[in-house]
Structure formats: structure tokens, C-alpha cells
């Protein structure tokens, strides 16, 4: 098992910079998820580590050893591809055994390892089949099996769940987490789905346009996003943003959006005071906007008036699409709420969880 380090790694394709000065340290046995929108460079970052692309600048280390010029097969990694990439002319057994055969393991050892992996993944009965005789979920398991028989230092997974249907995806997510615990190996996982990232990762690296935005535990990313991009990317529905400025009135600080003005709790006011009268972006998550009747006790609530344009019942909660003046935003409220479509209502903002971003730099103000 091993640690992985990206040191100032840059990858250019002609004029396009796919990965820009990436610095990441992945600890041994960590489950790191690289997440970002399509085309943000996360898959390229993974392929650089796999050795499928050459690094333009910088260094990648696996366990203190620079691997820039090491062939993929000598990096002791295994990869699960988005498309699974199973060899169609080989049986499931041969697909899984292929890497071991090439490395000249003896037959008994190969058989033992393949059977063990098949056992873990529940595909013992499929070993004689060809990939085209398998369902999508079974193929995905075989692809994972092909990686685990090798017992590599690092597992690379490139959007392995994106071809599965929604139900199977949720199930496989939990299985991958279990597998990680069982194997005690370093996992690097690429996805564009922030739910996958939040649920599986020990740490998440958010990448946008080839640049690392923030790397932290899921909880920290969620609670304290470094910038506007991370704040908007993590969480669903996304955080609400309002163009605003900070106004001082006596000893109190207010967020003024033009339509409504709300008091900033004293504790935060101290932090934001130096930015008075500056243009900022005020952010608040949908779950921090409540129906006042059902708001959690002990929160610092401020009331805002708005009109409900659409409601969406999700069963365990209701999404309210609200409009206050120019501003559209979403609230995620208790399902017992009596709010109806078209109502003019007052909702309460939990200002203890408010976020303020510099409008110019888009960085969080803390």
C-alpha cells in the first residue's frame, strides 16, 4: 500500500492546459475522490498517475518514488475504466487472470486469487462467461475484480458507476466503500457526481478547469467551501447565491441584497466587518432556509419575505422555489409545511450557517 503525491503537475495538450500546477498528497489507505464538472481535468490527472499520458511539467510520486518515466505496468497500480474495457474475446476468469499471467504467477496462485476476488464480488458463477453475456452491473464487478486480483498499491477508478442505473449505483457505492475498508488500499476515484464524492471519500479534491479548488474532508468542504465554485458544486440542490453588499448600521452588520436586508450574527459580524460596503456574494444552502413553524431550535433565524413559485415534494422533504424581488432561490423544508404554490410567505434564514464570498476574487471571506 502506498501514498501518492502530485507535485506541481501540469499537462498540456497543444495549447490546452488540462491540468494546471496540481498539488495533491494522498495518504496511504486513503479514499480520495477527484470531483469536478466534465472536462475539468480530473480524468487526465488520473491518467497521468496511471502512466497513460505523459506529464508536461512536475512530478508524480508513488511511495516516495518518482514515476514520471516508469511504465504503467511497473507502477503497481490497477485501474477500473468507465467503460470497463473488458477483453471481449476472453472469459471472465481469463479477464481477471490476464494481468497475473503476464506477470508469470504460477497457475495455482492465479486460480486462488481469481477465486478469492470472485468470491468477494459475488461473481463465482460467471467465471466461464464472456463479457457480452453479462449485464452492466456484472461487467462492472468483473472490471473491479480484474483490478483487485493484482493486489496493487493504488487503485484508480475512473467514473466506474456512471454506466449503472440509479438503484444499482447506490448499492455499488456502498460495496466500493466496504471493499476499500476490506482491502486497506489507497483508492483514487474520479467522478463528476458530487453525491458519490460525498458518500465514499475520506477526502475530496474539487477540480475546475485544471486547477485544484479545494481538498478536504467531505464535511469540511460542505461546511466551509473555500470559494464560490466549491460552494456551488458541493450540495444538491446547490447553494443559493445573492449579489449583496455589507452595510453597517450602528453596532450591527447587515447583508443587503437590495430586496431584503438581514442582520449578520454578532460572531460572524466581527469577521466581515473589514469588508463593509464592499460588493459581496451572500450564500446560503437550501437546507438552511426553513418554514418558521418547523425551524430547528436554537438557530439564529432571520425572516425574509418571498413568493412560492413552485413546490416539489420529495417525500421526506419539500423543495420550495422562491422569489424575492429579483432573487430566485430554493429552500428545503420540513414536509409538514403548509406552504402552497403561489403563497406569499415568510421563510427563516439560518444565519449561523451563512457564507460570504468576495465578489471579485470569488474566495470565501472568513
Amino acid at each position: 500500500m502506498a501514498s501518492v503525491t502530485y507535485e506541481h503537475v501540469t499537462k498540456r495538450f497543444g495549447d490546452v492546459v488540462a491540468v494546471n500546477d496540481l498539488n495533491i498528497q494522498v495518504a496511504d489507505k486513503e479514499f480520495l475522490v477527484l470531483v469536478g464538472p466534465s472536462g475539468c481535468g480530473k480524468t487526465t490527472a488520473l491518467r497521468l498517475l496511471a502512466g497513460l499520458e505523459d506529464i508536461t511539467d512536475g512530478k508524480i510520486l508513488i511511495e516516495d518514488k518518482v514515476v514520471n518515466d516508469v511504465a504503467p505496468k511497473d507502477r503497481d497500480i490497477a485501474m477500473v475504466f468507465q467503460s470497463y474495457a473488458l477483453y471481449p474475446h476472453m472469459s471472465v476468469y481469463d479477464n481477471m487472470a490476464f494481468g497475473l499471467k503476464l506477470r508469470k504467477y504460477n497457475k495455482d496462485e492465479i486460480k486462488r486469487r481469481v477465486e478469492q476476488a470472485a468470491n468477494i464480488l459475488g461473481i463465482e458463477s460467471l467465471l466461464d462467461r464472456k463479457p457480452k453475456q453479462l449485464s452492466g452491473g456484472q461487467r462492472q464487478r468483473v472490471a473491479v475484480g480484474r483490478a483487485i486480483v493484482r493486489e496493487p498499491k493504488v487503485f484508480l477508478l475512473d467514473e466506474p458507476l456512471s454506466n449503472l442505473d440509479a438503484k444499482l449505483r447506490v448499492q455499488t457505492r456502498a460495496e466500493l466503500t466496504k471493499l476499500h475498508q476490506r482491502l486497506q488500499a489507497t483508492f483514487i476515484y474520479v467522478t463528476h457526481d458530487q453525491v458519490e464524492a460525498m458518500t465514499m471519500a475520506t477526502r475530496i479534491a474539487v477540480v475546475n478547469q485544471g486547477v485544484l479548488q479545494q481538498i478536504d474532508t467531505p464535511q469540511m468542504l460542505y461546511d466551509k467551501p473555500n470559494n464560490l465554485f466549491v460552494a456551488g458544486f458541493i450540495g444538491s440542490p446547490a447553494m443559493n447565491f445573492f449579489d449583496a453588499h455589507l452595510r453597517k448600521d450602528g453596532n450591527n452588520l447587515f447583508v443587503d441584497t437590495g430586496t431584503f436586508s438581514i442582520k449578520v450574527p454578532d460572531e460572524q459580524a466581527k469577521i466581515y466587518m473589514p469588508h463593509v460596503n464592499k460588493a459581496v456574494i451572500f450564500g446560503i444552502r437550501p437546507e438552511d432556509i426553513h418554514d418558521p413553524k418547523y425551524e430547528a431550535p436554537g438557530i439564529i433565524a432571520e425572516l425574509v419575505e418571498g413568493k412560492i413559485e413552485v413546490t416539489e415534494l420529495m417525500g421526506n422533504e419539500i423543495f420550495l422555489y422562491l422569489k424575492s424581488g429579483e432573487h430566485n432561490y430554493v429552500a428545503r423544508v420540513d414536509p409538514r409545511t403548509s406552504f402552497k404554490m403561489g403563497d406569499d410567505v415568510q421563510v427563516s434564514f439560518n444565519m449561523g450557517n451563512m457564507h460570504i464570498f468576495d465578489k471579485e476574487t470569488e474566495q470565501a471571506i472568513r
Binding site: P72, M79, A85, L86, K132, R146
Partner: protein
């Protein structure tokens, strides 16, 4: 009431448009089906008639030209095979064509693989040269080739003929195989690299087996044209013992002017036809079967 009328009217209109669409489709397809139908009938008829005639006696052939043979005269085949030496020609053809075929595929497949997969300067130029090679009539090259072959001392040998067959088949074979290799997903190569394949192993253990449908297609096309190839063999083979089947058949039909043995000629034609048909029957399904299905989703 109004609504009902509208409804029926709408249905009538949609039925009408459906009918028009169908007619249009027929109008478009009928000429091609007609031509293909006539062609198939003609081909099937010729094959059947030649085969039937090859089992008749000469007398029966002229008396009952369109009838099914009443007794089977296998001696026509024996005569064609031994007396007119079709047997020797058959063996010559088999040796030259099969060895040329194997060599063509083993040379063209790696070339096509590299051209379709590896990006390097001049890649397109090389592929274009191969494609241009398809367009050059081999007749233009007879004189220089003859000189070279004579200098090398391989003129009028089976080895020389085989070599020529290899050379003239490569451009076309590379061309179709490039398409096949290009259609195999790149992830399979990458998976192979990560699993520990060397470049050669990626080709030999993954790409080559996956290109099987392409290789079979190329094999069938090349077999058909080499098996029936007449001109090159005529120019470069003088020794009667080294003749291939098409040359033999020509000799047979020439001899016909003096012997009048039409049924023997028919037997010769059937002998030359059977391998092509057999090959097609055995391999055409493989040609169509896409074995890459199910590898990636």
C-alpha cells in the same frame, strides 16, 4: 359531432400520409431490388446449369441442354482432374494463394494497427500512399516487374508468383484492416498496458484477436481475387507444370476447340468454383459476427 368528424378526418389524413410514405419507399427501393433480383437469378441459374451440365455426357448436353442429368458422369471430373492436369493446377493454386494470403495478413495487420493507432508525423501520408496503391493498375507494372523478377531469378517460379500476389494485395488489405483496428475501443489497449502488456503483447494478445472479423473479411476478399487471378499468372508463369487454375481453365477451353469436350470444361469450372463458395459459406457468418460487442458499454 364536430369533434368526431374531425377525428375521422384526421385519421384518414394520417392513413393517407402513411400510404404515401410507403409508396415513396417502394418507389425508391424497387429499381435496386429489381436489378439485384435479376442479377441473383442469373448467377444462381449459371451456377446450377454449369454444375448440372458437368455431370452430363457431351451427347446429353446437346440433346437435353436444359434438363437435369439422368445419370451422373463423374468421369468428366476424373478426366479434368488427371488428363487435363486440373489436379496439378489445383494444388499449385492452393499453395500459392494460401501462402500469399497468410503472409499478406501477417504483414498488413501490424501495419494497419500502427497506422490506425499510433499518431506520428507522416502517418496520414503513409496511409494515403497505401490507398493510392489500390488505384494503380498492376498492368502498368508488368515490364519493370518482369525485369526485376528476372534479375532476381524468380521469374517463372511459384515463389515469384506468390511474392507478386503478396505485394499487390497489401494496399487493399491494409486499407480495410485500418478501419477495423480503428473501431476497436482505445480503453482495451490501455487496460492491456496497465495489466502489464508490452506493446507487442497489446497487439498480439488483445488487438489481433479482436480484429478477427476484419482479418476474415480481408481473407475472403483476397482469396476470391487471388484464386481467380489470371493476368499476372499468365505473364509470369511459362512452365505448364506451374500453371494456376485460371490458366489451366483457359488451356482447357483452348483445347476444347479441338476435342469438343464441353462437359469436361464444365467440370473444370466447377472445380475452380467450389473452394470460393465453400470459404464463403464457412466464414461469412464470422465476418458479420461482431465479437467486440460487450467489451465496453
Amino acid at each position: 359531432m364536430d369533434i368526431d368528424q374531425d377525428y375521422t378526418k384526421n385519421i384518414q389524413i394520417s392513413k393517407k400520409t402513411l400510404l404515401i410514405d410507403k409508396l415513396k419507399k417502394w418507389a425508391r427501393l424497387t429499381p435496386s431490388y429489381f436489378i439485384l433480383g435479376i442479377w441473383s437469378l442469373f448467377t444462381a441459374f449459371t451456377i446450377l446449369w454449369v454444375t448440372a451440365s458437368s455431370f452430363k455426357s457431351n451427347r446429353q448436353l446437346f440433346k437435353e441442354t436444359w434438363k437435369i442429368p439422368t445419370e451422373l458422369h463423374f468421369e468428366n471430373y476424373v478426366k479434368a482432374w488427371t488428363t487435363v492436369k486440373m489436379g496439378t493446377y489445383f494444388i499449385n493454386s492452393t499453395i500459392v494463394v494460401l501462402s500469399a494470403l497468410v503472409i499478406v495478413l501477417f504483414i498488413s495487420a501490424p501495419v494497419a494497427y500502427i497506422l490506425s493507432r499510433v499518431k506520428f508525423k507522416g502517418n496520414n501520408l503513409i496511409l494515403t500512399l497505401f490507398i493510392a496503391g489500390i488505384g494503380i493498375p498492376v498492368q502498368l507494372l508488368y515490364i519493370p516487374l518482369f525485369v526485376i523478377m528476372t534479375d532476381l531469378g524468380i521469374n517463372n517460379t511459384m515463389f515469384g508468383l506468390g511474392l507478386l500476389y503478396v505485394v499487390v494485395s497489401i494496399p487493399f488489405t491494409v486499407f480495410i484492416l485500418t478501419g477495423f483496428f480503428g473501431s476497436i475501443p482505445k480503453e482495451l489497449e490501455e487496460a492491456g498496458v496497465i495489466d502489464g502488456c508490452s506493446d507487442f503483447q497489446v497487439y498480439w494478445k488483445i488487438m489481433f484477436p479482436l480484429a478477427t472479423p476484419g482479418l476474415i473479411t480481408a481473407a475472403i476478399f483476397n482469396f476470391i481475387w487471388l484464386w481467380n487471378e489470371y493476368q499476372i499468372a499468365l505473364v509470369f508463369i511459362n512452365n505448364p507444370d506451374l500453371r494456376t487454375l485460371p490458366l489451366g481453365l483457359y488451356a482447357l477451353s483452348n483445347a476444347m476447340q479441338y476435342t469438343g469436350d464441353w462437359v469436361g470444361l464444365m467440370a473444370g469450372v466447377v472445380i475452380i468454383m467450389v473452394p470460393t463458395i465453400l470459404l464463403y459459406v464457412i466464414l461469412s457468418e464470422k465476418m458479420i459476427a461482431g465479437i467486440t460487442m460487450g467489451s465496453v458499454k
